[in-house]
Amino acid sequence: MASLRVFAVAFLMCGATVMAQQSGTFGVGRTPTADEIKAWDISIGPTGEELPEGKGTVREGAQLYRSKGCAGCHGANAIDGKAPNLKSKAPATADVWARGRILPLRAPHATTVWDYINRGMPLNREGTLTADEVYSLTAYLLFINDVVKEDVVLDAKTLPQVKMPIGNDYASLPDWKPKTPRLKGYVETTPPPKK
């Protein structure tokens, strides 16, 4: 009896190992705390659900644009600096696609502007801006591109609601599938003529 029981236990253990592999879990890795995730999660999606508390205005943004050194690289008027233009040279009446690849103008969501300033600016001091400062700089850059009014107050609620000039006038990405041509009907999917 005893030996049979040992056999049964060994059999069960064997089964458990196989089961673990079949369900694809190895029990490796540590579960982060909610605070740890929040501290690392700087991806701001179109809904803005990850946006932190805080608020900003155009007036504060205009001051920060100078005091944080933005003007040094992007130009005092956000054009013709060493770094990319942040204001279009084309008139506001022109088609948005004809007004240059200006982030605070062409981005489909104002959240993209906030996300980029927050993660990538200022050069060499990335990640040092406070949430209020990022809201203010976003407000200023949207204002100089005629996207928002001068008295706008941007926060976690109002920022995702900003209507960007591009609207829905941009292509969504292809529904990618493995082993599928990148564009059906494109010249490369038709074999060349035999000579």
Binding site: G29, P32, D41, L103, Y186
Partner: protein, 416 residues
């Protein structure tokens, strides 16, 4: 050069004379020991050379800044650096010569692998954080893959294949399938996209479809038999085989599972108006280029040459490469030097007896899903645009590259 060497020939002669009894014929110098070949000088190997060897000082092949922007740039950032394909052999790009591209321009982070973490969170049952040690406990894959920058396009001004095609490279990568890690976390049914983020100062991030994560994406810690190099994302890089280079997130620290296209800064760079262009800006098309003979090189005269080049595609393995040595009138099937791998450079060749007359040589490839590399004329026709000097290929440029060979054997860019 040879003045400092002992006169080995003299030594042999005197040695033979001392031994005596031999005929003059017996002391004739052996092959490699004549006047011009006293044997090579020594490389003095210090401790560092014993520990980690350098290539020969006579091999001078180097990377160059790509597209007119120097690296480091005026801010000290590394941007785009091209691999010397004209000197390449086989399919592996040495790690020291692998092309480099960064988000915006970036500094190279000096990451302690003991401190590095990968966090996977968002639409999963169990968010998890992995150390590098954790990741090495999972079953691994080792695969040959190219990475190519979307900006890798030929122009009339380009002087050689490094300038026309140097923003592609191929290495052997080792790591853990992302699908393995996502199973560990328990992917929720609502997951449709994921965002991958690096730990460099700008924390470059891109959105990609979850289908790619579950198909063949992996997080790589190994490259060409050792740890991934810092310039390539040490200690961890996301591999998304066949996608544009920028998606291969370096210094990978976070993967967030989401239910929509997140439109990060890198995604903003991919914004297109026309869905056709958007489709051509994502998965890399079938592409090949002849690396020998290529622009800037010189054929010494008529006679036999092995034409050699590289072919790759984001659609899978290369199935066929054809070479024309008469400006595209006739196409000859090239030979593969090793079995082509999926989303990897394939080395092809063709023996050619050059008659010494001016001509143009070209290559085109077909991948396993039947996509065929087009000419620029064919692409212009597809878009109903005139094929002239103003024509620019939409999306990633995978067009056929012509090389002109003049009667004197000089090779130049066929687009010039």
């Amino acid at each position: 050069m040879g003045a400092k060497r002992p006169d080995r020939r003299g030594f042999l002669k005197s040695g033979a004379a001392l031994a005596g009894g031999f005929t003059v014929g017996a002391v004739a110098p052996a092959i490699g020991q004549d006047q011009e070949h006293h044997g090579p000088q020594m490389i003095h190997e210090g401790k560092d050379q014993i520990a980690y060897g350098d290539r020969s000082k006579h091999v001078t092949s180097v990377r160059i800044a790509h597209g007119g922007r120097p690296s480091p740039d005026p801010w000290g950032l590394t941007f785009h650096i091209a691999a010397p394909l004209q000197d390449s052999v086989g399919v592996i790009t040495p790690s020291s010569l692998h092309y480099i591209g960064t988000t915006r321009g970036s500094f190279l982070p000096d990451i302690d692998p003991k401190e590095h973490r990968l966090m996977i969170h968002g639409l999963v049952d169990r968010p998890l954080t992995f150390t590098m040690e954790d990741l090495k406990r999972f079953p691994s894959v080792t695969r040959l893959h190219f990475i190519e920058c979307a900006g890798n396009r030929s122009s009339r001004r380009a002087k050689n294949v490094q300038e026309t095609h140097g923003m592609t490279s191929c290495a052997e990568w080792t790591g853990v399938l992302l699908s393995t890690l996502l199973k560990e976390c328990g992917l929720k049914g609502s997951a449709t996209w994921f965002v991958a983020e690096g730990s460099e100062e700008i924390k470059g991030a891109s959105s990609m479809p979850i289908a790619k994560a579950m198909d063949d994406a992996f997080v790589a810690y190994g490259m060409n038999g050792e740890a991934v190099r810092p310039q390539q994302g040490f200690p961890l890089r996301l591999m998304v085989p066949g996608f544009e280079g920028i998606f291969h997130t370096k210094w990978l620290r976070r993967i967030k599972i989401v239910d929509r296209y997140y439109i990060n800064y890198n995604d903003f760079g991919h914004l297109d108006r026309d869905p056709k262009v958007a489709a051509l800006d994502y998965q890399i098309g079938p592409k090949s280029v002849i690396t020998f003979p290529s622009a800037g090189q010189q054929l010494p005269g008529k006679g036999f040459y092995e034409i050699s080049g590289l072919a790759w595609s984001g659609g899978g393995a290369i199935k066929l490469v054809e070479i024309s040595t008469d400006g595209g009138k006739r196409w000859n099937k090239a030979e593969f030097k090793s079995t082509p791998q999926r989303m990897a450079h394939a080395r092809f060749s063709l023996m050619w007896n050059w008659d010494g007359k001016e001509t143009e040589i070209l290559s085109r490839c077909t991948d396993e899903i039947g996509q065929v590399q087009p000419s620029r004329e064919q692409i212009a026709k597809y878009w109903n645009k005139p094929y002239d000097q103003t024509f620019s290929v939409q999306g990633l440029d995978n067009s056929i590259q012509p090389w002109k060979i003049a009667g004197d054997g000089s090779v130049t860019n066929g687009f010039a």
